[in-house]
Amino acid sequence: MSEELHPFETFLRREMIPHIWCDGCGNGIILNCYVRALKDLDIDLNKVVTVAGIGCIGRISGFTNTDSFHTTHGRAVAFATGVKLANPELKLVVISGDGDLFAIGGNHFIHAARRNVDIHVICANNFNYGMTGGQYGPTTPLDAWTTTTPYGNVEHPFNLVHLAAASGAAYVARWTTLHARRLTESIKKALQKEGFSFIEVITPCPEIYGRYNKMRTGIDMMNWFRKASEIRNQSDPAKAEITPERIVIGEFLDIEKPSFGRLLRDMTTRVQEKMRKGR
């Protein structure tokens, strides 16, 4: 056993490692799966942009050795849309939190999915606002305890995979951090897809969510995922609501449809042609 270099070392900004995430946090597994996907696909890192919003998971943009940008809260998808349209040969990967993407950033998300913008979104769903102290948010399950729902949550959460599919995404999947292998394969697939792809990753936040919900450690949360997960590929995302007893995971949607970028470029070419011919 020697202190050799980790095989993913060149995919990380070494001066930023160890990262800031708590022990037992799943965000590091998402980072791990993401860089493995980049490595397996042998993508030129100069052609990848990792964009994140604000939150614990948002720090991922500072840890990956790709071009990256840490946007203001909720604006990761909007920023990525702009970069992609200005520079179509870049691969735009948004990795952000459930709060960032679906509370403050909710409208950006649904409209980018509707337009089928060529970006790849990975959401770290830890059921709360981790960074600001564990407040409840739009993904907090009914009855769950958080610092701002001390008697249990009285709001119904979003079913993110249903929301993404209904909004118009071309690829939709959900995994947990325990399903690291399947998640990596799914990221690889999503990165090669034309149009808007969405992967929800259920991830443990023992520090500020699990502890209020009888799961004190990362292992407790991962064991919940193990017990509750059911793989149902190609099943109806509308029926994939997350409950304490059941977390439906798998690939829900994988369809072909022209992306916003392609339609826009085609239209531009057509109009320019018409102008040249003098209408």
Partner: protein, 92 residues
């Protein structure tokens, strides 16, 4: 003996099970214990030693049991453990 081992595949002698060599970067470990808990062959255990951050990094209990599935590497949030194939040319 478990039922599934009653019958031995005919080519069992020819199939080589890869052996893994486990590398642990102790100072990076935050002691989440995912690698210990989720290794399908229970190769790892918690050590008593402390690293710089005050966590107990894992240690290898029985390296001969490692089949190089690499799940410890995949599930480590801190890039603190990885496996490489052991060179077994002269026997392991």
């Amino acid at each position: 003996m478990p039922v599934r081992l009653w019958r031995k595949p005919l080519d069992a002698d020819k199939i080589k099970i890869p052996r893994g060599e486990i590398h642990i970067i102790k100072e990076r470990c935050k002691g989440c214990n995912f690698c210990i808990e989720f290794c399908p062959r229970e190769v790892l255990e918690e050590s008593e030693e402390f690293n710089e951050k005050g966590f107990h990094p894992p240690r290898v209990k029985d390296s001969n049991n490692c089949a190089l599935c690499g799940f410890c590497e995949a599930v480590c949030p801190d890039f603190a453990i990885f496996t490489v194939e052991k060179n077994c040319e002269g026997g392991c």
